[in-house]
Structure formats: C-alpha cells, structure tokens
Amino acid sequence: MAELKEDFSTTTWVMIPVAIAINIAIGQLIFALKIPLYLDSIGTVLVGILAGPWAGALTGLLSNLIWGLTGLNVTYAPFAAVAAVIGLLAGLFSEAGWIRAWWKAILSGVITGLVAAAISAPISAYVFGGVTGGGTDVIVAIFRSFGFGVLPASFAQGVSSDPLDKAITFLVVYLIVQALPLRFLARFPRSENVREEPEPA
C-alpha cells in the first residue's frame, strides 16, 4: 500500500493527462500519415514504465474512456480494459528490468501485443461482430472462409497487427527514456527500473 502511494506521486498524477494527450495526438498523427499502425499507447506504456503497473493501468483505462466520452473515437471505449492491461504489463516488464535493453523492450512489446489481441478478440466479437471496419478485416475474411469461428478470426486479426504495433511502441518508449535527462527521470517513482545505475564517481 505504501508502495502504491509512492507510485502515485504528484509527478505521476500530472504525467497521466500529458500521457493521455500523447496517446491521442500521436494516434491521430499516425492515422493522418496513413501508416497501418495505431501507436496510440505510447503515453500509457511510458507511465507504466516510469510510475509502475497501476499508474500505467489507470492511464490506459482513462485514455480509452476519454476517447469515448469526448466523442473523439467512441469505438475505443469498449476496449478500455485492454488498454489498462497494456499499461499494467508495461509496468511489470519495467519492474523485471526488461526496458534496460532495446531487444528486451521489443520482446516485451510483442508479448504485450499478443495479450492485447487475446483480450480484445472477445470484446470485438461481441460488440463489433469481430470486424474493425479497416483494412485488416481481410484477415478476418480469410479465416472465416476457412471455416474458423468469429472469435478465432477476430484473434487472428489482432495477432496480425497488435504485436508489431506494441513492439514499435515499446521501442519508441525505450528510445525516449534513454534520451531523457537523468535529472528528469529521477522525478518518477520507478526511474531506477529503466536505466543502469550510474557508476559511482
């Protein structure tokens, strides 16, 4: 409990809205550049890594609720639980020290993407008929025509996009964390998880 209170410092509380705005601004930028990725959880992963799994989960959850409540992208709201799990996993990988090396960061992203695909498939199947309304629906069509159920077809669609998307997200966050000044990083409760301890002078 004391640890949780330490994670939610004033810096964390102030960081969360900035992180959500990062999610939304970059998500829209990527969409405008017509790149077939989402990259709409960079802020969530950043908070998870720097302020712990619970702060990451809260960022993801509120991020998708805000997409919905502001009417900006209402179809994201039902996936709020998935976004929360992404933030949670980012925090856990950071605790395990996986964000200290670029290849471990990418691997964390791939695993997070697989988990995200697995939890979003039932939501997508129940609320959205298993489709996304986008280009990756070709994969749903292929799997359905081979006789797979709605749920496996939706999962296959997720696997085709989520692991790559989250791997790039984690890599971007890794690069950012390495570029941030130590003085700034030190303001966050879990900063010791992301950089090697500086050599004593």
Partner: protein
C-alpha cells in the same frame, strides 16, 4: 472551458439543462440495454424508442446522425460482407457467384450492427450534451477522488494544444526535408522524427505542471470547495433512481431471457 476538446457545444435544450449524472445514468441505461439483451432486435427498439427521442429533445439529432454514420458504416459494411457471406455452413438465402448470403450470418450481422450503433450513439449523445468539467465536478461532489477528475479535465484541455504542437512539428520537419508522402517505407521513416520531439517537448511541461498544482494544494488531504455550482431541479434525483432501477431490471431481464 475555452479551447477544450469536446463535442459539447453550448446549446440550449431541456437535455442540456439536466444534471450531468442524470445524463450519465441515461447513457448507462442505453449501453447496458444494448449490450445485455440477447437477440438482434432489442438494440433497434432502444434506438428508436429511447435514443432518437432523447437526441431530438436535445436538438442534436442531425449532428449525432452525421457523426455516427461515419463511424458505424465501415463496421456495418465489413460485418455484412464477412459474417453474412463467409458464415461457415448455414442456410443460404441469396447466391451471388460462388458466395451466398447465409441466414445465420445475416442475423449475426444485424445483431452486431445494432450493438455498434447503440454503443456509438449513446456515447455521442452523452458527449454532445454534457460539459466534461461539469460532469467531473458532479462526480467529485459524489465522492470521486479529485485527482481522477483532474486527470480527465486536464487531458481535455491539453489535447488541442498537443494537436497544435504536433502540426507545428510536422511543418518544421517537412521544412527540413522530411518525407511525409510517398510510399509506406518513406512515411514510416518519418514517424520517429515526428514522435520523439513531440513527446520530449511535452514531458518538459510535466515538471512545471507539478509545481503549479502543488502550489494550489493538489496533494492536500482536506476537503476542497468547487468554483462551479451545479443547478438541479428537485425531481432529478428521483428520475435517476428510476433509471438505475430500470438498468437493474434490464440486467435481470436479460439473464432471465438467456436462461429460457
């Protein structure tokens, strides 16, 4: 709230005057009803009998429809083509070339489109009629931690500034010769030079914001007063209880219908 991101436009209507929590319970009623009730038709009944009248009362119906159909249409096309025609097995209804529209697939598609329609329009109806800061103030008065309310209100205020900053960075990098057109690889190469400055520059804000909110007793544990007073007519709490009981009844009904 000047320059805050939200679909809310300060219109005058019976619905706009309602307490935010009343609208929240009404939106929850529509969401729960459309997701809990089994079968293809309940969502369409809810749409016609509840959502359309509420949107007409709020005088947002044309706007809501034009926003909703842009979101719903791609889903509807996908779901009809994929689940309607590619349903494995099933009873064929109409044959087009080698494919045929299946009865089961069509029913599944109709069910899904109803759910998508209701999820999208309930959220849009709420967003179009409710000021986000008033919603948060009313939730804090009911015991929501003010830190959570801060996150939501601050985010909504930050988003427009971020969008502006994103387009400034896009222009700056283009002026330095960054390709943002061309093939996918060229566009993908542009991602890092756009994303990294945006994130780094916004993180610089965090420190300043932390000092600013601390100076305003952010982490002080005592009770805080609010600048905003929310007006409410005497019958509204009663209406809310009626809606909450109706939500419970809907959940009960859908459990009963599924065990039949």
């Amino acid at each position: 709230m000047a320059e805050a991101f939200s679909l809310y436009t300060g219109q005058e209507s019976l619905i706009h005057k309602l307490h935010p929590l009343t609208k929240l319970t009404l939106a929850a009623f529509m969401l729960v009803g459309s997701l809990a009730l089994p079968g293809p038709w309940p969502t369409y009944i809810l749409f016609i009998a509840v959502l359309v009248p509420l949107a007409l009362l709020a005088r947002v119906f044309p706007r809501l429809l034009s926003l909703a159909w842009r979101v719903v249409l791609p889903f509807a096309i996908s779901v009809f083509l994929i689940q309607g025609f590619l349903w494995p097995g099933g009873t064929p209804l109409v044959a087009i070339g080698p494919l045929s529209l299946k009865r089961e697939g069509l029913l599944f598609a109709v069910t899904s489109v109803g759910r998508i329609l209701m999820v999208v329009t309930s959220f849009l109806w709420f967003a179009l009629t409710t000021r986000p800061d008033l919603l948060m103030t009313s939730l804090v008065q009911r015991g929501l931690p003010s830190n959570l309310a801060y996150i939501i209100v601050a985010t909504i205020q930050i988003i427009p500034r971020f969008q502006q900053r994103a387009s400034t960075i896009l222009d700056a990098q283009r002026a330095r010769g960054l390709e943002t057109g061309g093939n996918l690889l060229q566009r993908a190469r542009g991602v890092l030079p756009l994303v990294v400055p945006l994130i780094l520059s916004s993180l610089v804000d965090v420190e300043e914001r932390a000092l600013a909110v601390e100076a305003r007793a952010f982490s002080h544990p005592g009770k805080k007063t609010s600048f905003i007073e929310i007006a409410e007519s005497g019958w509204e709490p009663l209406l809310r209880w009626v809606v909450i009981i109706a939500i419970a009844a809907l959940i009960g009904l859908s459990i009963w219908l599924r065990t039949l």
